[in-house]
Amino acid sequence: MKYLDEYRDAPTARKYAKAIARETTRPWTIMEVCGGQTHAIVRFGIDTLLPPQISLLHGPGCPVCVTPLEVLDQAVAIASRPGVIFCSFGDMLRVPGSESDLFQVKSNGGDVRIVYSPMDALRIARENPGKEVVFLAVGFETTAPANAMAVHRAKEEGIANFSVLVSHVLVPPAMEAILGSHQNRVQGFLAAGHVCTIMGYTEYEPLARKYHVPIVVTGFEPLDILQGVYLCVRQLEEGRAEVENQYSRSVRREGNRPAQELLTRVFTVVPRKWRGIGEIPASGLGLAPPYAAFDAARRFRVDDRHAEENPDCISGLVLQGIKKPQECPAFGTKCTPLHPLGATMVSSEGACAAYYKYRRHASMGSAPPGATAGGASS
């Protein structure tokens, strides 16, 4: 496909790999923020092309992974009610709540439907006026404008049987939480290209200055990631800490203004709990007061839930780049994609699931845990 296949060109990839090796004189630790980038890195073995001094850490940018347990329990509770059609993106269905997941609700006779777009859920609401149609609105800034449009249209058209269970998260506060942690090892970031397509990258400029970290807005194909690493390494080697835009075919500094406009009308910034990490101030989006009538948590009175994470799951440490998946004793044994303990093993963008799919034979038993912390060595 045009604008996809050419960014997987092997000779150009080798050129970048060689250039990165030439530039690198010291060990550097770089975090790719987005789960889509993690998936590409592990799938295409991009880390194995890098010199051993470069460690890639996998960041928290997997919405499926960071959606808190409470929200999943709320989803299960709402979806189990008679008269409800519960709509969700497919990858949320297997994510374990405290006692159940949406697939289990479906197999017990609940009307749980996988949709491609929130607008599909809105159409289902239009077609089923006798039912309550609820959409599980998760995701980062990339997905929020689509969900905002569904809510906005529901209000405009007076579709009263539609509501959304919102658990949107924002990337820059999570990056700041990582940088501000005393356990932080990240020296440079590959920022998430599609998040920046919506929001632009002005928010990252004060972060780069304050923490003196280079931040390179990066795409998702192998050449994008390799060029992103190259630009980041050059900055690190030269002692610069700037925001650069590798993914300029999609990202503009100011972002997508029409999308930001509707996003800020429908949503408001709220504190948000991140699964495995905890609450981060001003790190999420909730419905703004004029749209509060579409809040499923209020409509179904499920907004008072508290839940505890499985103690065997270290996904919080994995999401912050402190541990690698195969350093978890449950990895590939008690925890597999079919029977996940935590969300990082569920989504294809979760670091644990990516390692399970592409690396489990290489990583289990053979390499000592310390050796796997460097991307190139695993």
């Binding site: 050129k15 060689k18 997905t143 689509a146 599609h194 919506i198 050449l223 999609s250 997508n256």
Partner: protein, 91 residues
Amino acid sequence: MCLAIPGRVESIDPSDPDLRMARVRFGGIIKQVSLAYTPEACVGDYVIVHVGFAISRLNEAEAQQVFEYARQIGELEQLKDGTAAGGAPAQ
């Protein structure tokens, strides 16, 4: 989840100007996509699509920069190699 892929705008339906629904081709597949957030996108343009919405019009000139940059790196390195080789004493 932030997966978004490029496709070509084949036609735009003018009946709902707020949603600006379009037929967008991804290889052999055509899907209905809203161009609400890319008012500048026209038929023939490539757009980057996420959950049924175009989130940007692909900048075709910028799309080449990753290759252009690689070419420049290559030339620079050749130059360095050349200089190194040229700087060595002649046999």
